[in-house]
Subunit: 186 residues, 2 copies
């Protein structure tokens, strides 16, 4: 599963390229000697520069405390090759369980935050919490992406898009309509 | 393009089924005799019940004023059959242009809000603004879906997921892993 395609830095204003399509992501977190991974589908791009991502992590998740306390996380982008792990992580709690070990995933150091990334993923977005004003009311965290890396191939990997009920849509096929866009809209 | 498959009500706690996968949507709005449609990719599910959707509409969009003033909108879900319209709407401003007329789209009455829906779309989510606390700072609107309708077929229509640069990913193929989920996680 872990392939050797090298990852390169992604310009921060290009993060939308990976997250705007709405894939399921794996959020890794760490605080005070604990670490965790959660499966997350509730996120949105909020700005290009600074690169802001909003996501909902309910206080019932073990990850919620780790990301609140540390003010950091890594948003990792899995492909369909990690479907079993995505489901397993989403169906288990990190309380008393090291999900990296349990699911055989590699915790690699990040470049800008003290949170391990999930190396088997296609891309990694290292985040710092910049707005927690809706955390209490809605579990809504606003992150600034401060470092990003991705594999350059495949250019459009198959990603998982969750519909509920155990069913994922798969995106991978692309439609290129660049010629129909106004230059300033690209 | 406009087909005759009847639309039925969708239970409000099932809205995630359509929006969590992260498709491009068409947001219709109306206020004070004006109406508009915008293409939007920056949205997230925020809660099942009440059914909450957050989205970013920058103040530079003509739609921003209409949705702020009326406190309502309709989130319409287009399929790949509407790719040209999605691009055309995203590349034009509603200032001085009626996008329903210009793009040959049908403005049908909604059931719970005074905003026309885009009939050619697969599904419609009628929304009332419930939290505008991050509108000034981030253009972030939190909506409660108060009525929802969708075509029953196809069960998983091909949807558009925007990556920037004029390139969309297409989701339509599904992976059903229901058997791998804990019952309480479905």
């Amino acid at each position: 599963m872990h392939d050797d395609v090298e990852k390169v830095d992604v310009p921060l204003d290009r993060v939308r390229r990976y997250l705007e399509p709405g894939p399921i992501v794996l959020v890794s977190s760490a605080w005070n000697g604990e670490r965790n991974i959660m499966t997350l589908g509730w996120h949105t791009v909020m700005a290009f520069s600074p690169s802001l991502i909003g996501c909902v992590i309910s206080s019932g998740n073990h990850s919620s405390e780790l990301v609140r306390r540390s003010g950091t996380c890594v948003i990792n982008l899995p492909t369909t090759a990690l479907t079993d792990e995505v489901i397993g992580i989403g169906n288990s709690s990190g309380t008393g369980l090291d999900k990296f070990e349990h699911f055989g995933l590699t915790a690699s150091p990040s470049t800008a935050v003290e949170v391990p990334r999930v190396e088997e993923c296609h891309a990694h977005f290292e985040c710092r919490l910049v707005d927690d004003s809706l955390v209490d009311r809605h579990g809504f965290f606003i992150w600034e992406v401060v470092a990003a890396q991705a594999r350059m191939t495949p250019a459009y990997p198959e990603t998982l898009h969750y519909t509920g009920d155990g069913v994922f849509m798969v995106a991978g096929e692309i439609i290129d309509r660049r010629s129909q866009f106004l230059p300033q809209m690209l």
